[in-house]
């Protein structure tokens, strides 16, 4: 099978991944809506996954892909728990704005 990296260079994958990660980071830092913060975290995760797959192909080594499966499974679990928490938060304080979540203030 012809290597896809011959058509699109590895550096492009890295740029895309970094871009996605940064989008995620800024999303986390600047948005106040908990759901969007959540989505941004997912973007960061997927940026990493992308990088994993790209390097896996580059090195002709399946270990990276295995890792991605793990990380996706964990992410799915995390989403399930996280969204459940958000639902509970919404029921309690009627909002998902993270600036309202100050009950843990010391």
């Amino acid at each position: 099978m012809e290597n896809i990296l011959n058509q699109i260079g590895i550096e492009n994958y890295i740029f895309l991944s970094v871009l996605l990660f940064c989008i995620g980071v800024f999303g986390v830092l600047y948005r106040r809506n908990a759901i969007i913060v959540f989505m941004s975290i997912e973007i960061m995760l997927n940026a990493v996954n992308l990088l994993f797959v790209a390097f896996s192909t580059y090195w002709q080594d399946a270990k990276g892909e295995v890792f991605v499966f793990f990380s996706m499974a964990v992410a799915a679990a995390e989403v399930a728990v996280g969204l459940a928490i958000l639902v509970a938060v919404f029921r309690n304080i009627g909002s998902v704005d993270i600036s309202n979540l100050k009950n843990l203030k010391g």
Partner: protein, 629 residues
């Protein structure tokens, strides 16, 4: 068979104690008293049985109940040794104990806690038997501490009176000082001999030590430590002050514990360890001197006391001093002889004074007595016999034993002989002063008391009569010439003492002692009968007699020398050191608290800030890792 009989001897009083503790109140006063008395009588019967057996077989009975302690080379069994010495002690401890229990049934009948009294008395007898029959120093020590505990409980028996509680505590603490010495002595002996068994130690000292003396100094220290233990228990200088205060307890307790049995434990222990003391002549000399001084000091204090029991208490201290004088000169059998005769007449005197106090409804001041001879003839007669005995009048028991002590002293050291003789004259004086003030001339109490005067019931007078009889004939066990006691005790002594035949010197000494006693009596007679002198009120006493009346201010001296500095130190610790330490410890808490309070501010609760910090931190780590490469 033998084992179970030994256990019967040892444990019956303990069973009596358990019964009285758990069922005494329900069973009622008479049953409680009867059980308590029977328990001791059973022990007495067993003692007599073993005594007979020993007399026929001549062999000591050894019983090992169980292995107790095994530490390295040191092995201690829980063993029992019934030899001549312990059986002799058992006989008079359980014998006089039985009489005093009998007496207490009547004496304590009005007390609501009578069952408790009998429980303590039984426990005391149990521990006293343990002390006497133990085959090694550690078993003896159990009994030693146990009798101290019972003494404490019984002195403070009327615990609602704070003075009595203080007296109990004083007795306990003073004894503890002595016990420390005893313990150290035990440790030294354990390390030297590798055993605490009396027979093993005797072998060690008589064979190994005699041939190649090692650790001579340490041996002396061990003997001295044991003697310190004895000064605590047997009320010798400088630890004697607890005994007069111990008179706070009920009178039967004074008779049993503080006159006849417990206070002789020190003499018992030294006689037991005679093989050790025979090797340490310096310590023996110290014992003799301490004994003589105690005899003199206590007798002189007794001259002016007005509390009938206090007089007897100082008399006890003084007589114990004479016994130590004999011990110090290596005349163990003589000391034991005096212990036995003293147990008879002093128990009788205490019980007699109890009878008087009973008749006067608790009055103990002799200034408010007098003229009791006619209303209490039996008490008077028995006390008179015992007084003659303690004063050393021929042919009563005290004459023989005291005379032997003075004879031995005369042979060893003339100064000690003079001191002992003066103490004896004083004894004759204050004992007859007691008799004259209590029983002669007119009654000086209130009309109401006079109206209620009566002779005590037969349960009280019977023990008095028996003890008076013993005080009369007690001298027979060791008459000069027959010396039954000396021969009987020979097996337990390490070195044989030759006994002189009666010569002119001995007769002369007897005559001197007798003359001294008569001088004391005549002196008392002329002062209290002829002149009708009655001791003055406390406030009117002055001069040197005030010093004596206040017991040479020894208690005050101890208070200012030890108690007050100790209290001051405690106070300093409490008011200064403890708050300072508290501040240091509290300071750690304050610091931790402060750090926590500062750290708390980081927890703003703003998730955005947390995330920001998280990202910055991540970046910092990543950039560090990059730079580190």
């Amino acid at each position: 068979m033998e084992n179970s009989l030994v256990l019967l001897l040892l444990l019956t009083p303990f069973v009596g104690f358990l019964f009285n503790v758990f069922f005494g109140k329900k069973a009622g006063k008479n049953i409680s008293g009867a059980i308590g008395t029977i328990a001791v009588v059973v022990s007495f019967a067993m003692s007599v049985y073993f005594f007979m057996q020993l007399n026929t077989s001549g062999k000591a009975i050894q019983v090992k109940l169980f292995d107790w302690i095994q530490l390295g080379n040191l092995k201690v069994d829980f063993g029992i040794l019934l030899d001549q010495l312990s059986l002799l002690w058992l006989l008079f401890v359980t014998g006089i104990g039985s009489l005093i229990h009998l007496y207490s049934i009547s004496y304590m009948h009005d007390d609501e806690n009578m069952h408790k009294f009998f429980a303590y008395l039984n426990l005391f007898v149990f521990f006293m038997i343990t002390l006497v029959v133990g085959s090694n120093l550690l078993v003896m020590f159990i009994g030693w501490e146990g009798v101290g505990l019972c003494s404490y409980l019984l002195i403070g028996f009327w615990y609602k009176n704070q003075d009595y509680n203080d007296a109990a505590k004083k007795a306990f603490i003073m004894n503890r000082i002595g016990d420390l010495g005893f313990l150290i002595g035990i440790f030294i002996l354990a390390s030297m001999c590798g055993s605490l068994d009396f027979i093993a130690m005797k072998t060690h000292f008589l064979s190994i030590y005699m041939n190649t003396p090692q650790n001579v100094f340490l041996t002396g220290i061990a003997a001295l430590c044991l003697f310190i233990g004895a000064t605590g228990k047997s009320a010798q200088l400088p630890l004697y002050t607890w005994l007069p205060d111990a008179m706070a307890g009920p009178t039967p307790v004074s008779a049993l514990i503080h006159a006849a049995t417990m206070v002789t434990a020190g003499i018992f222990m030294i006689t037991r360890m005679n093989f050790l003391f025979d090797l340490t002549h310096d310590v023996q000399h110290i014992i003799a001197v301490v004994g003589a001084i105690t005899a003199l000091v206590a007798a002189s204090i007794g001259l002016l006391q007005n509390d009938i029991k206090k007089v007897l208490a100082y008399s006890t201290v003084s007589q114990l001093g004479l016994m130590f004088l004999a011990l110090g000169m290596g005349a163990y059998t003589v000391a034991v002889f005096h212990v036995i005769t003293h147990a008879f007449f002093k128990a009788c005197l205490f019980l007699g004074s109890g009878s008087v106090i009973h008749a006067l409804h608790g009055e103990q001041d002799m200034r408010k007595m007098g003229g009791l001879r006619k209303v209490m003839p039996i008490t008077f007669a028995t006390m008179l016999i015992s007084t003659l005995a303690i004063a050393g009048i021929f042919p009563f028991a005290g004459f023989w034993s005291k005379d032997e002590i003075l004879m031995v002293a005369f042979e060893h050291n003339k100064v000690l002989w003079i001191v002992g003789s003066i103490a004896s004259i004083m004894t004759a004086f204050y004992m007859f002063r007691l008799m004259y003030l209590t029983f002669f001339r007119e009654f000086r109490g209130t009309e109401e008391q006079k109206h209620h005067l009566h002779e005590s019931p037969s349960l009280i007078t019977l023990p008095l009569i028996i003890l008076a009889a013993l005080a009369t004939v007690g001298g027979l066990i060791n008459l000069p010439g027959s010396n039954w006691l000396n021969h009987f005790l020979e097996p337990i002594l390490a070195t044989k003492h030759e006994h002189h035949a009666l010569g002119s010197q001995e007769y002369m000494l007897m005559a001197i002692a007798l003359t001294g006693a008569i001088i004391g009596i005549v002196w008392a007679y002329s002062k209290y009968i002829k002149q009708g002198f009655v001791p003055k009120e406390d406030s009117e006493i002055s001069g040197f007699s005030k010093t004596i009346y206040n017991k040479y201010y020894v208690d005050e001296f101890y208070t200012s020398l030890i108690v007050k500095p100790l209290n001051g130190l405690s106070n300093f610790f409490r008011t200064t050191l403890e708050p300072a330490l508290g501040k240091v410890v509290y300071g750690f808490g304050t610091v931790a608290n402060g750090i926590g309070n500062q750290g708390k501010k980081l927890q703003t609760g703003s998730i955005g800030l947390y995330l920001f910090a998280f990202v910055i931190g991540l970046l910092a780590i990543v950039s560090y890792l990059f730079l580190a490469q």
